[in-house]
C-alpha cells in the first residue's frame, strides 16, 4: 500500500503554520524592539537598514525555533516510525498507522526530518555561539597584551597564531578524532580518576581562559576594594571551576558535562577560530592604545591589565560584535563540515552537518533528495542571516 501524501502547497502552508510560536515571538520581539530602539544602540539602528533587519529576523527565527523546539517538533529527534514504507518517505507523507504527518518526509531510518531539523537548531545554536565565545576569550586574553605591549611578546604570540592559521584545519580535525589520539587514558590519583587525551588537554587549556579572563577583570577593577573583589572573584572561581571539572574532565560532581565528541568539537573549533580573534583584537588594541583616555589611565597609575580590559576592550566592541556574528556563521559552517566528515558528534545526532552527511548518499535520486536538502537549507539560512546581520551592524556603525 502506498502511503498517503499531501500536495506541495499544503506542505508549505503547514510548514508556516507549524512554526507559529516562532512567528509570534518574532512579532513580539521585533515590535517591542522598535519602540525601544533608541535605547538599543547599534542594534536599535538596524531598524534603519532593511538588510540588517532581515538578517536579524532570520537569526531570531532560528533562535526561537531552538527555544520552542519541543512545541514545534512533532516527534523526538530519534523516534522512528515502524510503519512499512515510511523509510525515505517523500515530502508530505502521512504515517498510515499513527496518522502523523511527516511534513518534510522521513530519512532512511524513518525518522521525521522536520523534527530533526528543528531539534538540530538547538545543537547548532548552543555549540556555535558557545565555542565562538570561548574562542573570543582565548583570542582577547592573548591579543590584548600582544597589541598593548608589542615587542617580543607580540612577535612570539603572532608567530604562534600564524602557525595555527597555516596548518590545514581539516587535517587537524582528522588528527583530533583519530581513535589513538581521542580515546582518553585514565590516570588514577587515588581519590579520583582523571581522563587524559590530546583533545581533553586542549579543552583543559581553552576552558581555563574564561576563568582567567573574568578573574583578571574583577581583580583589576576592584583591587582597592578587597570586599567586592572577594565576592566577585570568589563566585567566579567557585562556579567557574565547578563547571570546568565537569565540562573538561566529566567529573560527576559538576552540573554540566560534555560528552567526548562534543568536547572534541569544542577543542577543534576554538583552536580553529581563536587565532583570527587574536589578530583582530591585537589590531584594535594597537589602534585604541594611542587614544588620550588610555594615556590618562596610564598617568593615574592604572595597571596594564586594567587598561586593556576596561579602557581598550569595551571601546573595541563595535567591530568585535560584527566579527562575532560573522564568526558564529563560520563556526556553524565548520560544525557542518565536521558533521559532514563524520568527525563531529555522534552519528545519530540531529545536528545539521551530520544530517547532511547522512543524506548525501541519497542525493542522487530526486525522490530522496530531501534527506539532505532541508538541513542544508537550514544551515544556509542561518549563516546567511548571521552574515546579513553582521553587514547591517557594520554599515550602521560606520554611519555618523
Amino acid at each position: 500500500m502506498k502511503p498517503e501524501t499531501i500536495s506541495t502547497i499544503e506542505v508549505i502552508i503547514t510548514s508556516v503554520i507549524r512554526f507559529w510560536p516562532v512567528w509570534a515571538a518574532l512579532a513580539v520581539s521585533l515590535t517591542s524592539g522598535y519602540f525601544i530602539r533608541e535605547r538599543l544602540g547599534t542594534f536599535g539602528r538596524l531598524y534603519g537598514s532593511p538588510v540588517g533587519l532581515a538578517g536579524l529576523a532570520i537569526v531570531l527565527f532560528w533562535v526561537f525555533t531552538a527555544l520552542f523546539a519541543d512545541v514545534i517538533a512533532v516527534l523526538g529527534p530519534l523516534e522512528q516510525s515502524f510503519t512499512g514504507g515510511m523509510k525515505k518517505a517523500p515530502i508530505g507523507t502521512i504515517d498510515s498507522e499513527s496518522g502523523i504527518l511527516f511534513l518534510w518526509g522521513a530519512d532512511n531510518l524513518a525518522r521525521d526530518i522536520f523534527s530533526r531539523v528543528v531539534y538540530g537548531s538547538r545543537i547548532v545554536l548552543i555549540i556555535a555561539p558557545a565555542a565562538t565565545l570561548i574562542a573570543y576569550m582565548v583570542g582577547s586574553t592573548l591579543g590584548l597584551p600582544a597589541g598593548y605591549y608589542t615587542g617580543w611578546i607580540d612577535t612570539a604570540m603572532s608567530f604562534l597564531a600564524n602557525l595555527v592559521l597555516a596548518f590545514p584545519v581539516i587535517l587537524l580535525f582528522y588528527l583530533l578524532v583519530t581513535p589513538e589520539v581521542r580515546i582518553p587514558t585514565m590516570y588514577n590519583f587515588g581519590l579520583f580518576e582523571v581522563p587524559w587525551s590530546i583533545p581533553i588537554g586542549m579543552a583543559a587549556l581553552f576552558f581555563l581562559f574564561p576563568i582567567i579572563f573574568l578573574c583578571l577583570m574583577w581583580w583589576t577593577k576592584y583591587e582597592k576594594a578587597p570586599q567586592k573583589l572577594m565576592i566577585r572573584g570568589g563566585t567566579t572561581l567557585v562556579i567557574g571551576l565547578w563547571l570546568y571539572v565537569g565540562l573538561v574532565f566529566q567529573s560527576p560532581i559538576a552540573p554540566l558535562s560534555l560528552d567526548p565528541n562534543e568536547l572534541n568539537v569544542f577543542a577543534a573549533v576554538v583552536l580553529g577560530s581563536s587565532p583570527g580573534v587574536f589578530r583582530i583584537v591585537r589590531g584594535l588594541t594597537m589602534d585604541i592604545k594611542t587614544r588620550d583616555y588610555v594615556a590618562a589611565a596610564q598617568t593615574r597609575g592604572e595597571r596594564p591589565w586594567y587598561i586593556m580590559l576596561w579602557e581598550i576592550l569595551p571601546n573595541a566592541r563595535g567591530p568585535l560584535i560584527v566579527d562575532f556574528c560573522l564568526r558564529i556563521g563560520y563556526t556553524t559552517i565548520l560544525l557542518g563540515t565536521l558533521g559532514f566528515f563524520g568527525l563531529g558528534l555522534q552519528p545519530e545526532s540531529p545536528d545539521w552537518g551530520s544530517m547532511i552527511n547522512h543524506g548525501r548518499s541519497f542525493v542522487r535520486l530526486t525522490s530522496t533528495i530531501h534527506l539532505a536538502l532541508f538541513p542544508a537549507l537550514a544551515l544556509m539560512t542561518l549563516v546567511l542571516g548571521l552574515n546579513l546581520l553582521a553587514d547591517g551592524l557594520r554599515e550602521e556603525s560606520l554611519k555618523d
Binding site: K224, D292, Y293, A296, G301, E302, R303, W310
Partner: protein, 695 residues
C-alpha cells in the same frame, strides 16, 4: 568649450544669493546653510570665518557643486562669472572644476595621490584641461613649483608625496590648484594641519600669489588672525547663517554684530591680560542644527538679547555701511563702542617657592634602522639638557613646534617614559627615573595632565561619574563609596557642570564640557603640578575663553603649578608667567613672559612671534619668515640646532659649536652665539599702536 562666462572686471567672479543648503540624514532634513549671500569681485580675497558646524565648509563645497549624496541646494543661486552654476551640464562642471575654480583642502596628504609621482599629478592637470603635451606640461609644472618657492623643482617632480614634508606637500597642492590659472581659488583651512612657522610661509605665499596672478580667493578658516592677514573682505558665519559681511578692517574695528564682537573679545590678542583685562567668553554653546532657536540664532547667547525684537521670525541682513551688512535686529540700539563689560578683575597670583626643578634632563631614543634590530643604531635626542624651575602657583609655558620634544618632556614628567640623564625634582623626590608604576598614589596624584583632544580624553563607554570615581579610588581619596560619590559631585561643581552629568556618557557632552571633565579629573587629587597639553586648541573659539578661565580659576584656588604646553603664542602670552622656548629638543630661550615678547630675542623666538597671526588691526608685526623645513632629528647637527633656518647664522661658529646659554638678566636666558649687544638691538616684532592700551 564656450561656457558663456563673463570676463568683465565689474561682474563679480562669484555671486551667491539667498543660498539654502540642507543635508538629509536619518533624523530628517538638517539645514546646513540658510539665507546665505556673498559677492566676490575679481582679484578680491574673501575670508569665510566661523566655528565648527557653522556651515563654512558646506558653502565652499556648494560653490564647487559637490555636496555628496545627501546634500542638496534647496534654493538660491550661485553665479560664477555671471553664469548660474546650476545651468552647467555635468561635462561643463567637470571642465571648470580644477581649471576655472580650484580648491585646496586642509590635509595635503589626502589631496595628493600617494601612488603617483608629483610630476605626473601636476602634468595631468594641464594635459587634461588644456590639452598640452607631456613636455610642455612638465615645463609649466616646474615653473609653477618654482613660483610656490619650492627649491629644486626637478627633484620634487620626481618624488612621491610621502617623501615631502607637510609644508612642501601643501605648496604642491597650491601649485596644482594654480596651474591652469583659475579665476577662483577656494582654500579650506589650508594651514590648519601645519606648524606656525610653516603656516607663516604659506600665508605669505598666498598673499604674493593673489597679487601676482590676480586670482580671486575664498579663504575658509576658523582663525580670525589668519583671515585678517590674508583677506580683503570677511564673512562671519554662525550656525548656518552669515551674520556679518564687510571689508576686513571695517568688520574688525566697527563690527555691527554681537557675535563678531564676542568672538574678537574671546581671542587673546597682545592687549589682553589674564589679570587686568581678562578675556570675556561667550556664554553657552553652539546650538545643534536641529535645535536652532526661533529668530536670531545667536539670541540665547547674546548679552543684547531682547524679547520681541530677537525671537520673532527671521532676522534679515541689513546694510550698515558701504558693502557692509549685518544680521542683527537691534543694530541701532546697541552702543557698539561701549568697552567690554569687563569680567571680574583678578588680583595677580603671588608666586611661591620652587615646586618642580628640572636639571640637565636628557631623553634619548635608540632607533635601529637595519632589519632584525641590527644595522646601525642611531639616537634621537628628544630632550637635550633641559633645565628650568617652576614655582608654586606659577604658569610656565613650554612653546615650540611639532618635534621640539615638548610632548616627550611631558611623558617623562608623567612617568610614562624615564629620563636618560638628569633629574626632575618634585618636592624632595627625583621623579625623572621613576616610572609611573613605581610611584605611590600620592606622587601619581600630585602630577597630573590635561589632554589636548577633548573628543579623545574620556573613555567613551563609561559614565562621567564612574570615570571620576575611578580616579578618586586610584588616588586613594575618600573612605567609602558614598564618600567618593560626594567628592565626585563636588568636582563637577568645581568645573561648573550640573551634577546630573555624573550619569551621562561622554558622547552626550560637547567638546568644552568634556574638557571640563578632563580638568576635574586632573585636579581630583589636589595636584602640585598639572601639565596642560594644548588644553583649548581643539575647542571652538567661543568656548576656549571659558575653559581657559576655569583652568586659571582652579589653579588660583589650589595654588597648583601649571606647565602649559602650546604652540600658540597668543594663548601663552595671555596665560603664562614664564615661557620656555624649545627647538629640536633644546631650550633656545627662557624668561618672564614680557621678556620673551620684547627684545632681545633669540632668532627662533623672533620668527615664532612673527609667525603667529594676530586678530587685531592695531597690531603691526615685523615679518620674519623662516626658510626651509625642520631638520630631521635622526641626523643631529653639530653646533646650534637652529643654524639651518637662522638668518643670522655665523658660518664657522654656529655650525660647529653649541651656543652658550647666556643670562640676559632676571632669569632671561638665551642660547645664541650672537653678541649680547646685537640681540639687544633687535627691533620688536609685535608693536601695538598707541590708541590701544598696551598689555
Amino acid at each position: 568649450m564656450d561656457l558663456g562666462l563673463s570676463t568683465d572686471p565689474n561682474t563679480p567672479i562669484l555671486e551667491v544669493e539667498d543660498l539654502n543648503i540642507s543635508f538629509y540624514t536619518r533624523s530628517g532634513e538638517i539645514p546646513a546653510v540658510m539665507d546665505f549671500s556673498m559677492t566676490v569681485m575679481p582679484g578680491e580675497t574673501m575670508g569665510l570665518v566661523g566655528e565648527s558646524g557653522c556651515g563654512k565648509s558646506t558653502v565652499s563645497l556648494g560653490i564647487m557643486q559637490y555636496l555628496g549624496n545627501n546634500g542638496q541646494i534647496k534654493s538660491g543661486s550661485i553665479k560664477f562669472m555671471g553664469r548660474d552654476m546650476s545651468s552647467f551640464s555635468r561635462e561643463e562642471l567637470r571642465d571648470i572644476r580644477g581649471s576655472k575654480i580650484s580648491m585646496v583642502y586642509q590635509e595635503p596628504m589626502a589631496s595628493l595621490n600617494p601612488a603617483m609621482k608629483i610630476g605626473r599629478q601636476l602634468n595631468e592637470v594641464l594635459t587634461l584641461h588644456e590639452g598640452l603635451s607631456e613636455e610642455e606640461a612638465a615645463k609649466r609644472s616646474a615653473s609653477m613649483l618654482d613660483a610656490v618657492r619650492l627649491p629644486d623643482p626637478d627633484r620634487i617632480m620626481g618624488a612621491y608625496p610621502h617623501q615631502l614634508s607637510g609644508g612642501q606637500q601643501q605648496r604642491v597642492v597650491i601649485s596644482m590648484a594654480l596651474l591652469s590659472k583659475p579665476q577662483l581659488l577656494l582654500l579650506d583651512e589650508p594651514t590648519t594641519a601645519l606648524d606656525v612657522t610653516v603656516e607663516a610661509g604659506i600665508v605669505e605665499l598666498i598673499q604674493d600669489l593673489a597679487r601676482e596672478f590676480g586670482t580671486s580667493m575664498i579663504f575658509v578658516s576658523h582663525n580670525l588672525g589668519l583671515i585678517l592677514e590674508t583677506c580683503d573682505r570677511i564673512t562671519v558665519m554662525y550656525s548656518g547663517e552669515a551674520v556679518e559681511e564687510g571689508d576686513i578692517n571695517t568688520v574688525f574695528d566697527n563690527m555691527r554684530h554681537p557675535y563678531t564682537k564676542g568672538l574678537l573679545r574671546s581671542i587673546p590678542v597682545p592687549g589682553a591680560d589674564k589679570y587686568a583685562k581678562p578675556l570675556v567668553a561667550i556664554p553657552g554653546q553652539l546650538p545643534l542644527p536641529h535645535e536652532r532657536p526661533v529668530g536670531c540664532n545667536f539670541g540665547p547667547r547674546c548679552q543684547h538679547y531682547e524679547e520681541e525684537a530677537c525671537n520673532k521670525g527671521l532676522v534679515p541682513m541689513t546694510e550698515v555701511g558701504h558693502r557692509h551688512w549685518s544680521r542683527c535686529a537691534r543694530i541701532d540700539e546697541i552702543d557698539w563702542d561701549a568697552d567690554v563689560a569687563a569680567g571680574v578683575v583678578d588680583e595677580p597670583i603671588e608666586v611661591g617657592d620652587v615646586v618642580v626643578s628640572v636639571k640637565g634632563l636628557k631623553k634619548h631614543y635608540a632607533v635601529s634602522s637595519g632589519m632584525f634590530g641590527g644595522g646601525d643604531t642611531r639616537t634621537v635626542k628628544a630632550n637635550e639638557n633641559l633645565s628650568f624651575n617652576a614655582r608654586e602657583a606659577e604658569t610656565v609655558a613650554i612653546v615650540g613646534e611639532s618635534g621640539c620634544g615638548k610632548s616627550t618632556f611631558a611623558k617623562v614628567l608623567m612617568g610614562l617614559e624615564t629620563a636618560t640623564e638628569g633629574e626632575v625634582t618634585l618636592g624632595n623626590l627625583d621623579i625623572a627615573h621613576l616610572p609611573v608604576e613605581k610611584r605611590d598614589a600620592k606622587t601619581v596624584s600630585s602630577v597630573q595632565m590635561v589632554f589636548q583632544n577633548p573628543f579623545d580624553t574620556l573613555n567613551p563607554s563609561m559614565t562621567i561619574g564612574a570615570q571620576i570615581v575611578r580616579v578618586l579610588e586610584q588616588f586613594e581619596i575618600g573612605d567609602s563609596d558614598a564618600d567618593r560619590e560626594n567628592k565626585m559631585l563636588e568636582l563637577l561643581d568645581l568645573v561648573k557642570l550640573p551634577r546630573e552629568f555624573a550619569r551621562r556618557m561622554p558622547r552626550q557632552l560637547s567638546g568644552g564640557q568634556k574638557q571640563r571633565i578632563g580638568i576635574a579629573r586632573a585636579f581630583a587629587g589636589r595636584p602640585k603640578l598639572v601639565v596642560a597639553d594644548e588644553p583649548v586648541s581643539a575647542l571652538d573659539v567661543s568656548v576656549q575663553a571659558a575653559v581657559t578661565k576655569l583652568l586659571t580659576d582652579i589653579q588660583r584656588e589650589s595654588r597648583t603649578t601649571m606647565l602649559f604646553i602650546s604652540h600658540d603664542l597668543g594663548v601663552v602670552r595671555y596665560l603664562s608667567d614664564r615661557i620656555v622656548v624649545m627647538y629640536l629638543g633644546r631650550i633656545m630661550e627662557q624668561g618672564k613672559t614680557e621678556d620673551i615678547f620684547a627684545p632681545p630675542y633669540h632668532p627662533y623666538t623672533e620668527a615664532l612671534l612673527s609667525a603667529v597671526p594676530v586678530a587685531d588691526t592695531h597690531v603691526k608685526k615685523r615679518h620674519v619668515v623662516l626658510e626651509g623645513e625642520l631638520p630631521s632629528p635622526l641626523t643631529p647637527l653639530p653646533g646650534c640646532p637652529f643654524q639651518t633656518r637662522c638668518q643670522y647664522a655665523i658660518p664657522g661658529k654656529c655650525d660647529s659649536q653649541l651656543p652658550p646659554a647666556r643670562e640676559m638678566g632676571e632669569g632671561h636666558v638665551i642660547a645664541c652665539h650672537l653678541e649680547a649687544e646685537t640681540l639687544k638691538e633687535m627691533e620688536p616684532v609685535i608693536v601695538v599702536e598707541d590708541n590701544v592700551a598696551a598689555g
